[in-house]
Amino acid sequence: MSNDPRDLINRCLAGDEAAMIDLVERYRDRVFRFCYRMLGQRQDAEDAAQETFVRVLRSLVTWDGRRDFEPWLLAIAGNRCRSLLAARKRRPATGLVAAEQLVDRSLDWHAMQTLAEEVQLALLRLRPEYREAFVLFHENQLSYDQIAAAIQRPLGTVKTRIHKARQQLMAQLRRRGVVGGRRHAVRAV
């Protein structure tokens, strides 16, 4: 199967439901994981991913065929996640408490599993805009240019966000004793 989704998209535009299913199948894991990293809850992530694909299929006609499809798709997913995060702020917080409870340091869990959970927790504590840029870069493997297009921000802003996300992740992991050592007093570039 070719990586270029244009044929699939053209068939979707013609109303071919099998092509729609193929398109969703092709990107669902990446979109779902991105939503999961952003929201930290499986159910919310599934809702956000579903809404994302429904919107994408409805507005495929507005996609500019000269641009990459995946950044556009992830931009819509990012918008959905931000909306859900904003709605969550207005409600009493329940999700992050559950994530916090995942890490019970009194239990002798496998070190690697604990590390993964700590990193996930630290990710959830980042500012959403930092988290979005960081996940798009590290997990979805988008280039800086693609991220800039997806989040509609200048390249410099994207680099700054990813860099700050990294710094804050390290700071949180240090604070929780997951990683040792202290940073040099040098200015980060």
Partner: protein, 227 residues
């Protein structure tokens, strides 16, 4: 390599999605600087943690659910949109019906409705026309209908009294049309009969019949129940 250069090089590695510990220069510096060694170990641990992150997948029916949702949305437009359309239609009808009553008045134009003027309850509201209506000859004020000024104002009145407000009978008759044509002045029935006479199948009497005969014949036909 100094510690500042180490930090910069480390960030560059991370930007290229490379493991900093794979860079020989970074490893060399970390070997001689305990603090940078700690920093390198911390970043390696973060990279490990990122690699170990859970990779959840949505359930098997995810794609079908998405397409089903799209299908449902296509078949039934949102109730809200339907409701908004209905409200807009009702509002537009109400506006059309009642707009004349709320339009601004112009007291310089004489009342076009004797009945309303007599009662004095609801004098006609006046609007200024921006263009001359079709069929109305523009020009001197004498050709304008009674109650209109030379710049083509007409009385805008509530629809409930419209038929009695505009007295079209007061308009000056037109005697000639362009090109020497004569306007039809006979009643509609006579005009129709005249047109029918020009059609071979509709010709029922000798062509010498006068217009008066046609009128009488038409009147007798109208009176006959078999006509």
């Amino acid at each position: 390599m100094r510690c500042e250069q180490f930090e910069q090089r480390l960030q560059r590695c991370l930007d290229r999605r490379e493991r900093p510990s794979d860079d020989p220069a970074i490893r060399r510096h970390a070997g001689v600087c305990p603090r940078c060694r700690g920093t390198l170990a911390a970043y390696n641990r973060l990279a490990d943690g990122l690699d170990l992150l859970e990779l959840p997948v949505p359930d098997e029916t995810f794609s079908q659910r998405v397409v089903r949702q799209v299908r449902v949305d296509r078949r039934s437009p949102a109730v809200g949109r339907r409701l908004a359309g209905a409200i807009l239609a009702i509002a537009a009808c109400l506006l059309l019906a009642w707009l004349p009553q709320f339009a601004g008045r112009d007291d310089t134009v004489p009342s076009a409705s004797p009945r309303v003027a007599a009662t004095g309850t609801a004098p006609p509201v006046v609007a200024r026309m921006t263009s001359v209506p079709h069929g109305v000859q523009s020009g001197p004020a004498a050709t304008a209908p009674t109650g209109m000024t030379a710049d083509a104002k007409i009385g805008l009145v509530p629809w409930t009294i419209w038929p009695t407000s505009l007295s079209f009978g007061a308009w000056n008759p037109i005697d000639t049309l362009a090109g020497g044509l004569t306007p039809i002045t006979s009643p509609l029935g006579v005009a129709v009969e005249e047109i029918r006479r020009t059609i071979p199948l509709g010709r029922v009497e000798p062509p010498s019949a006068s217009r008066g005969d046609s009128v009488r014949r038409s009147a007798s036909r109208d009176a006959s129940p078999l006509a």
